[in-house]
Structure formats: structure tokens, C-alpha cells
């Protein structure tokens, strides 16, 4: 187990390095630069500005400088949002994004596993078909359609929640974005749980548990759920990635001041350091979560345990 953990960590480092390198060069070979404007700057001034951001040096040198600073924890300054460093911007946006993302995942796990188990225990009944039908709708309606609809219904027609905005981060501003982010994941996890639960309930060790006279509740809660949750746990990695990508859209629809909003703006404005910073933060989180998921999986799956 320990050697597995170490091996996984050793892969994570070059992965992160690849992300940084690819992102860096992709941004730089793009046509257009951060200082393109309607009215061109006088050449001397442009030269000075470029020198200040090291943009006048050869690409490889810029890369070296960037990596060097990064290793010291310096993401550099934002080019477009004056007087702010990338680290400051990310720190400002991270709380909102993290709250949305984590709540959405928690919600997805609770409801997804709940609905999935409920449907599996009543396999092929009307309830089962209803739950799975709704889950299918949840998968088929993308969150960027769901978000404006939720905002229309709850914000405008029922007028019980704000249509958009963040206020001072009060709870009523967070409800709709969290739901919009969580719905597709709830649907997916419910389908996943139902599928694996049905399979587990037909397996031999469950038959044994039933044969020795355990109550159905115990059979499900103590024996079946552990096996049935394995696919859900391994889906957590992709789920996190999906929630993060989704939050880019959800944040801009609901006007949430998170990192996702920065990313789109920065990419369109060619604010190189800010784009890099956001990509690195997301990559670290995804890699870290994948690592944790693999560890939990290793602990739960008896097939992976070393003798």
C-alpha cells in the first residue's frame, strides 16, 4: 500500500510539470499578445512594458524564469488586472469556487448514492424506473441549460431566491449555483450506484449474509454498500474535474466571483500569468483528488490489498 502511494505520488509530479509546460507554450505561441489594443502604444513604451514582464526575452528564457519563480511560490503579476498578483486574485476567487465545488460534490454523493440504492433495492419496480428516468433527464440536460432555467423559475417566477449575484456570500446566493452544478453529478452517481448495487445484491457473499439470517437492513448497510460504492469512489476523480469545468460556466451565468470567471476572461485577454495560475491550481486539485481517490479505493477494495 505504501509503495503504491509513493509510486502514485511520483507520477503526479511529472504530470503537473507536463501541465505547466504545455499550458505555458500553448499560451505563448498564440497569435496576439496582452498589449494589443485599438491604438498601438509607442514602440519605446511597449518595449519597456514588455521588458518589465520579461516578454522581450527568448521563449525558453521566459520559461526558465517562470518555472524558477513558480518553484518559489511566485505566480507573477496579472498583466490585465493592474496592481494585483496572480496569487492574490486566486486567493480572492478560490473561496467562492471551493465552496460551490465542494458543496456540489457533497450533495451529489448524498443524493446520488441515496437515490441509486433506493432504486436498486426496488429493482424493476415503478419507483426504480421513475428514479432512473429522472436521472437520465438530469444527464441529458446540461448544466448551462439548467442554470438559466433554475434562475428563471426560482428567481423570477417564484421570486424566493436571487436570480444571480453573490452579495456578501450569503447562503441564498449559493443555493442555485450549487444545485445547478450538482444535478448532473447526482444523476450520474445515482445511475452508477444503482448499477453496481444491483450487481452486488446478486453476488454470493450477499446470498450468504441473507442465508445466515441477517436482517435486510444490515445486509444492505453493512455488506452490500461497501462493495457497491467502489465504482462511485473511482468516479469521484472525473466528477471533480466535471464540477470544476462546470463551475466555469455556472460562475459566469450566476455572476459568482470565483476562479472560473477569471479563467475565461484571462484566456480571452491573453493575460498569460493569470491563465497559467488558474490552470495550475485546477491541475493540482484534480491530481490531488485523483491521488486521494486511488488511496481510498486501495483501502476499500480487498482485491488490491497486499497479502
Amino acid at each position: 500500500m505504501l509503495s503504491y502511494a509513493i509510486r502514485r505520488l511520483l507520477i503526479a509530479i511529472p504530470t503537473l510539470f507536463i501541465v505547466i509546460t504545455v499550458a505555458f507554450f500553448m499560451m505563448r505561441i498564440a497569435p496576439g499578445g496582452p498589449f494589443d489594443q485599438e491604438r498601438a502604444l509607442p514602440p519605446e513604451i511597449e518595449k519597456n512594458i514588455k521588458a518589465a514582464y520579461d516578454l522581450d526575452k527568448p521563449l525558453i528564457a521566459q520559461y526558465g524564469i517562470y518555472i524558477g519563480k513558480l518553484l518559489q511560490g511566485d505566480f507573477g503579476p496579472s498583466i490585465k488586472i493592474r496592481d494585483f498578483s496572480v496569487a492574490e486574485l486566486i486567493m480572492a476567487g478560490a473561496p467562492a469556487s471551493m465552496q460551490l465545488g465542494l458543496s456540489a460534490i457533497a450533495l451529489a454523493l448524498v443524493f446520488g448514492i441515496g437515490f441509486g440504492t433506493y432504486a436498486a433495492l426496488r429493482q424493476n419496480s415503478a419507483v426504480d424506473f421513475a428514479v432512473m428516468g429522472i436521472a437520465m433527464i438530469g444527464i441529458a440536460i446540461p448544466n448551462f441549460v439548467m442554470a438559466p432555467l433554475l434562475s428563471l423559475v426560482f428567481g423570477l417566477y417564484l421570486a424566493i431566491l436571487p436570480t444571480a449575484g453573490w452579495g456578501d456570500g450569503e447562503i441564498q446566493y449559493k443555493i442555485l449555483p450549487i444545485i445547478a452544478l450538482a444535478l448532473p453529478q447526482i444523476a450520474y452517481i445515482a445511475r452508477l450506484t444503482r448499477g453496481s448495487m444491483v450487481e452486488v445484491l446478486h453476488s454470493n457473499y450477499i446470498r450468504t449474509a441473507r442465508a445466515k439470517g441477517l436482517r435486510e437492513k444490515l445486509v444492505v448497510n453493512r455488506h452490500a454498500i461497501k462493495g457497491a460504492l467502489l465504482p462511485v469512489i473511482s468516479y469521484l476523480g472525473p466528477a471533480t474535474a466535471a464540477v470544476m469545468t462546470g463551475s466555469v460556466v455556472i460562475e459566469s451565468i450566476f455572476g459568482v466571483p470565483g476562479i472560473g470567471t477569471y479563467f475565461i476572461k484571462a484566456a480571452l485577454n491573453r493575460d498569460y500569468p493569470l491563465v497559467m495560475g488558474v490552470v495550475i491550481v485546477y491541475a493540482v486539485m484534480i491530481i490531488l483528488l485523483n491521488f486521494l481517490v486511488d488511496m481510498v479505493y486501495g483501502l476499500l477494495d480487498p482485491k488490491l490489498k497486499s497479502p
Partner: protein, 302 residues
């Protein structure tokens, strides 16, 4: 061909009492698939949407980029022929939704084809050769798996401009990973089978074994996963278009239309509803067909 085999199937089922007749895996699967009502219904709906998309110009008196100055952003109206209403530029929404269907379906199919070619070849090679080659190739897939891919696709779009062919390639390049894993797993279990060894012993080259013997035998799971990749790709394309990074005006896709509709949702709900319904319906159908195919080809779960 189809007709003939169906006829023979009928004949044979009529005379089934006489002798027990062997059915091939594929025929068996087809029978099971056509018994699945949700899958058949989905195929019919998808067929209709595809047909509408193909014959789109014949269905409306308006062209997809034609501006009707008399009706700017007006609701659905059967009398003036704008049955889905018009958008903010006075263009007919019905014809634009159908042109969006063309783009979305084309992206879905082509990007899936790209992912299919890369994923199947990669997975089959890794699984067939096994050992060191396999572990290096699959480690590479693991690394790619943990990358925040959407961010790269977004950057790619920003960097190289909005180009529809780039969308095919970028999405295909993102979606091949799971396909490679599936094919590799299947190939691993195939490569020690007798017919592969026989081919090997008679001197067939590795390349030929992979394409003639291995790949045809992994088609089942590949087809199932392919059906589930198409909606994934369509969804991703809509996502990019929604962010303003997909196809360009005056061309359109469902994502673009949804994004335009979402902006004016309070005043003109129809501009969001129609493209959203078409998108959701399509994703719905592909998922049902995928599920149906899985049940049909892999009956152990029923």
C-alpha cells in the same frame, strides 16, 4: 441484405420447432435490441432529427442567415412561418435550430470517429504486445487522464481561433482515453486465445493480427462506448459554443443558440427552450441507445 436476413429469420422462427438453430452473437444482439422499446423509440426520434437536419432548407421559407426585419425577437407564430419564433437579429429560429443540429451532429459523429480511431488502435497495440510496452503506454494514458482537459481545449480554441475542424480534432483527442482502456482490457484477454496463437503460428504479421483478428473481436464494447461518447462530444461542443468558443456566426450550433437564449431568458423564453429541447432530446436518445446496446451485447446484467 438486411431484408433478406430478416426474411430468413422469420422463416426460421416459423420452423423453429423443427430444429434448434444456432444464432450468431450479432443476430442475437439485434433481436434483443429491437425488443427494447426505449432504444427503438430513441432510434426513431434520432432518425427524425437527423432527417430534419438534412432536409432543413426545404422546410422553411426562410434561410438560416436571413433577417426578417418585420419580426425581430418575436415569439412562435404559425401564421408568418416563424414556428419557433425569431432571434434577436430577426432570423428564423426553426431553421437555425435545424442548422444547429447539423453542426452538433456532425461534430458528435466526426469527433467520435477521431477518438475511435486513436483509442482502438492505441488500446489494441498496448493490449496485444503487453509487458513493458503496455505498461508504458497505459501509464501515459493515466497521466493524460489526470489533466484538466477542458481547460486545454478552451485554451486551444482561444489560441488557434474558432475553427470547426479544430473542434473535431480537439474533442476527439480528449475522448479517446477511455476507449483505449476498454480496448486494451479486452485485447489482453484475447491475446492468449487459440485463434490468435494459430494466426501467430502460421506466420501472420503482428500488424495484421491486430487489425484482422483482435479489433473485430472487441467491437461489442467499442460500439457501446461509441454510442455513449457521441452525446458526450455533443455536450462538450455545446459547452464550448456556450462560452463563445465554438462555431462562428452566421453558422450556429445548439450551444450557441442556448447561450443566446439564456441571455434573454426573461423576455424571450422560446429562444432558450427550443434549442435546449432538441439538445436534451438528442442526448437522451443516444444514452438510451447506448444502454440498450449494452444490454443487448452483454446480457449478463439482466
Amino acid at each position: 441484405m438486411m431484408n433478406k436476413s430478416e426474411k430468413t429469420a422469420l422463416l426460421q422462427s416459423a420452423s423453429a420447432a423443427k430444429e434448434i438453430e444456432g444464432r450468431s452473437l450479432w443476430r442475437d444482439a439485434r433481436i434483443r435490441l429491437f425488443r427494447n422499446k426505449a432504444a427503438v423509440g430513441s432510434m426513431i426520434i434520432l432518425g427524425i432529427i437527423t432527417l430534419l437536419a438534412i432536409i432543413a432548407p426545404l422546410l422553411s421559407p426562410y434561410a438560416y442567415d436571413q433577417i426578417d426585419w418585420g419580426y425581430i425577437q418575436e415569439g412562435p407564430n404559425w401564421e408568418n412561418g416563424h414556428i419557433f419564433g425569431t432571434d434577436g437579429n430577426g432570423r428564423d429560429l426553426f431553421i437555425r435550430v435545424l442548422y444547429g443540429a447539423r453542426v452538433s451532429l456532425a461534430v458528435g459523429l466526426l469527433a467520435t470517429a477521431v477518438s475511435l480511431i486513436i483509442g482502438v488502435t492505441y488500446g489494441a497495440i498496448a493490449g496485444y504486445f503487453g509487458g513493458k510496452i503496455d505498461s508504458i503506454m497505459m501509464r501515459f494514458v493515466d497521466v493524460l487522464y489526470s489533466l484538466p482537459f477542458m481547460f486545454f481545449v478552451i485554451m486551444l480554441m482561444v489560441v488557434f481561433g474558432r475553427n470547426i475542424f479544430l473542434i473535431f480534432v480537439a474533442l476527439g483527442a480528449v475522448e479517446w482515453l477511455t476507449m483505449a482502456r476498454i480496448v486494451r482490457g479486452q485485447t489482453l484477454s484475447l491475446r492468449r486465445r487459440e485463434f490468435i496463437e494459430a494466426a501467430h503460428a502460421t506466420g501472420v504479421s503482428n500488424f495484421k493480427i491486430i487489425f484482422r483478428h483482435v479489433i473485430p473481436n472487441v467491437l461489442g464494447p467499442v460500439i457501446v462506448y461509441m454510442t455513449l461518447t457521441i452525446p458526450q462530444v455533443i455536450l462538450t461542443e455545446s459547452f464550448l459554443s456556450f462560452l463563445g468558443l465554438g462555431v462562428q456566426e452566421p453558422l450556429t450550433s445548439w450551444g450557441v443558440l442556448i447561450s443566446e437564449g439564456a441571455k434573454v431568458i426573461e423576455a424571450s423564453t422560446w429562444m432558450l427552450i427550443y434549442p435546449a429541447v432538441f439538445l436534451a432530446l438528442t442526448l437522451f436518445c443516444f444514452n438510451f441507445i447506448g444502454d440498450g446496446l449494452r444490454d443487448a451485447l452483454d446480457p449478463k446484467d439482466r
